[in-house]
């Protein structure tokens, strides 16, 4: 194998796939990138058994097809320090030596047999679902939902994003039982109704590579695995098996109390007041009376307290409700409209946080936050 590649182009591809490599690999070969050359196309693969990410580079100058596994850390650390220049890779597949020649030097590492690199999962040809999703749509869905996923070993289904496909829309759902995001897009659809749960890791990998993509993304999945095909990248991952809890039943439908307020204003206020909340519970209280919202917090252990009054539009009964400030701040940071509407029913039921007016006419964003139990 022999090829010439631009150092920065190679680095940028390696950096995006290297996120797959986990620090606690069970197989030593997974600490490598798999380089496989066929014609003038170089494929670089990284995997942690659950998730495999492949990127392709078109080369001008290449000869002798073949594959080899190259130590990821050494390669990455070396490439980081190169200014833009052509690098020549000469690989002897029988002695496994990899020689990289730069303008003024040479670097030699030992690779491993490329055939030992685990094969990525194959989707069942006869039992898979295929659809195409606009890359912008997929990116927004993942970005909006990712922060709400759980870290719960006991309930693995909650550790991923549920993607529900129907004939008229696509819905992304994520929840950790305290907060929930439901992101619906009317401009995406599938041929039939189906769904899968995408784990957190491949979701965040997609979040990183999707901004580079302009075309549509081809999504294929069966009951175990899913693959996402982009122009330069292919991601194959194992899905979370199991049933997602019926999230629609926990979204309250009757919310007589509606509060409209500037998003940034509330966000800044929460950031300031939450400094004074108890560090274990992060409880902030929202007290709504007339057209005034009072945000307050206190930490009895240190005798500190704070409150701020904000003007808002409110239609409903006076009430006081407690939320975990960190959750509320996260939610507000993931919305981008000028104003938001908070819909409430009572202090023991979930509050809905909705952007207003919607960011995009084709989307329906709903964020839900469970309150904390306060004795009013």
């Amino acid at each position: 194998m022999k090829f010439v590649v631009s150092s920065t182009e190679l680095l940028s591809h390696l950096q995006s796939v290297s996120r797959v490599i986990s620090s606690k690999n069970t197989l030593p070969i997974l600490d490598n990138f798999l380089f496989s050359l066929s014609g003038t196309e170089l494929e670089i693969t990284a995997s942690d058994l659950e998730t495999t990410l492949i990127t392709k580079i078109k080369l001008e100058n290449a000869s002798d097809d073949g594959k080899i596994a190259v130590p990821a850390k050494i390669l990455g650390d070396t490439l980081k320090e190169f200014p833009e220049q052509p690098l020549t890779f000469e690989i002897n597949t029988s002695s496994m030596s990899v020689v990289i020649s730069s303008e003024n030097g040479q670097f030699t590492v030992v690779g491993q047999n490329g055939d030992e690199f685990p094969q990525m999962a194959k989707l069942k040809e006869d039992d898979k679902t295929e659809l195409t999703i606009d890359s912008e749509l997929l990116l927004s869905g993942i970005t909006k939902a990712l922060f709400a996923t759980a870290d719960d070993e006991l309930r693995p289904v909650m550790n991923g994003i549920l993607l529900e496909i129907s004939e008229d829309n696509l819905t992304f759902v994520a929840s950790d039982a305290h907060k929930l995001v439901r992101y619906k897009r009317m401009d995406g659809k599938g041929e039939s109704s189906s769904s899968f749960i995408l784990p957190k890791k491949p979701a965040s990998l997609l979040k990183n590579i999707l901004p580079k993509e302009d075309n549509v993304v081809k999504v294929e999945f069966d009951n175990k695995n899913a693959s996402f095909t982009l122009t330069d990248y292919t991601l194959v991952c194992r899905l979370v098996e199991g049933n997602y809890p019926s999230y629609n039943s926990v979204i309250p439908t009757k919310n007589p109390n509606k509060l409209t307020i500037g998003r940034q204003e509330l966000y800044n206020s929460l950031k300031r007041v939450s400094v004074f909340s108890n560090q274990a519970s992060n409880l902030v209280k929202l007290k709504i009376k007339g057209n005034q919202l009072t945000v307050s917090a206190q930490d009895i252990d240190f005798s500190i307290s704070a409150y701020e009054r904000l003007n808002c539009q409110y239609d409903g009964d006076d009430m006081e409700i407690g939320f975990k400030s960190t959750f509320m701040i996260e939610i507000l940071a993931n919305l981008h409209t000028e104003d938001i509407v908070i819909e409430l029913s009572d202090p023991t039921r979930a509050g809905l946080i909705l952007p207003t007016p919607s960011e995009n006419k084709n989307e329906d964003v709903l964020m839900l936050l469970m309150p904390m139990m306060i004795n009013v």
Binding site: D301, D346, L368, N375
Partner: protein, 385 residues
């Protein structure tokens, strides 16, 4: 500072007829123990933690009072308030003990004079007798307080600590309990003076880490600070049966009631627990504990099944049980974050309403039906039908 026979003094304030008579405070049942007793009763050999039966055998005409913890804690607060008003740094060590750090006060008032005036003020304002010991650290002050009693004061100056400690029994050192005392006594160590002459390494070998601490205390060395406030680390309750039992159904009902009671305490104090411990003591005094880490919570319906599960795993011997207890530890300040799939609004409102009723009408006002059964098992053994 230590209030003399605190419980008895409070009872005497309420009922002056008790003055000058032998009074015993404690449980009246067969297994009740003496919580506190007056000096008159002590002269018959009665002391606290002694079984009530034995106490009554020793002192037949003693007046036994059931005791009212709420009343005592109210008086204790009165004393604490007075101390808080005048002292720069104080530590409430128990219901009737306070440590006060008056470093620096000597420049303005004279430590002894200041302490004397504080004591006079407490006696004057609350009517409760109190004693104090004044010295360079907590250990010596505590021992001095013990010597000052009843209703006295003792000042041990820095240079005279050794002379003061030497002739005293080793029992006076706060860390030495019954077992350590017997161990040391069997080695022929009677006075603190003898204890001091033992090499600290030997003490450490004999009693582990505590050994060297005891040795330091015997030398009047104690660097521990007067800490004004200490976080409540755990909350617990336990119940000793009048008659040992193996009635599992009854034991579990009792457990439910105990969890219910202390989880209400948690919510009232706005705390959450992440560790629950169940304790049982068999009739032969073998005591076993089992604990489990959980997610932060203060809700009964989460804690009760865990307590029951722990109890099932713990009760492995076919033996009667003498005592059962539950403890919540690893507490943090905070309120429950609700879970959208598990906590329904109806459930939360039920908690809030029940807690409101308890706040208003007392902690036993309302609860689960099983926990409101009379506190006695039907038979010591379950019947086989």
């Amino acid at each position: 500072m230590d209030l003399d026979t605190f419980f008895v003094s409070v009872e005497r304030l309420i009922n002056s007829k008790l003055a000058g008579k032998p009074v015993i405070i404690g449980g009246t049942s067969d297994r009740g123990v003496v919580a506190s007793c007056s000096y008159e009763a002590r002269s018959y050999g009665v002391h606290s933690a002694m079984p009530m039966r034995m106490a009554l055998n020793l002192c037949n005409d003693a007046i036994v009072v059931r005791g009212d913890m709420e009343q005592y804690s109210r008086y204790s607060h009165m004393v604490t308030d007075i101390i808080a008003e005048s002292a720069p740094v104080y530590e409430k060590a128990s219901i009737d003990e306070h440590y006060i750090d008056i470093t620096g006060m000597d420049r303005f008032f004279g430590s002894h004079k200041w302490a004397h005036e504080l004591r006079e003020r407490i006696i004057h304002e609350t009517g409760l007798p109190i004693s104090f010991g004044l010295s360079v650290n907590k250990t010596v002050s505590k021992i001095a307080t013990g010597e000052a009693k009843p209703n006295g004061e003792k000042y041990v100056e820095a240079g005279l600590i050794q002379d003061f400690l030497s002739p005293l029994s080793i029992r006076k050192i706060p860390m030495i309990g019954k077992q350590t005392f017997h161990l040391l006594r069997s080695m022929g160590i009677v006075t603190i003076d003898t204890l001091r002459q033992i090499p600290p390494e030997m003490m450490e070998k004999l009693l582990g880490k505590n050994g060297s601490v005891i040795w330091k205390r015997a030398n009047g060395i104690d660097h521990s600070l007067v800490t004004p406030y200490s976080e409540r680390k755990s909350i617990s309750t336990e119940h000793t049966f009048d008659k040992d039992t193996a009635d599992i159904a009854y034991l579990k009902e009792l457990l439910v009631g105990m969890v219910e009671k202390i989880s209400y305490e948690l919510r009232k104090k706005q705390k959450l627990t992440s560790c629950i411990t169940v304790k049982i003591r068999y009739s032969n005094f073998d005591t076993h504990n089992l604990q489990k880490r959980i997610q932060y919570t203060s809700l009964d319906h989460v804690l009760i099944p865990i307590a029951k599960e722990l109890f099932d795993r713990l009760y492995s011997r076919r033996m009667l049980i003498r005592l059962i207890g539950v403890k919540f530890s690893h507490l943090v300040q905070g309120v429950q974050q609700l879970n959208m799939f598990e906590d329904t609004s109806e459930m939360i409102n039920l908690y809030l309403t029940m807690d409101k009723l308890r706040n208003r009408y007392g902690k036993d006002a309302v609860g689960r039906a099983v926990s409101h059964r009379p506190l006695k098992p039907a038979l010591p053994y379950p019947t086989i039908s």
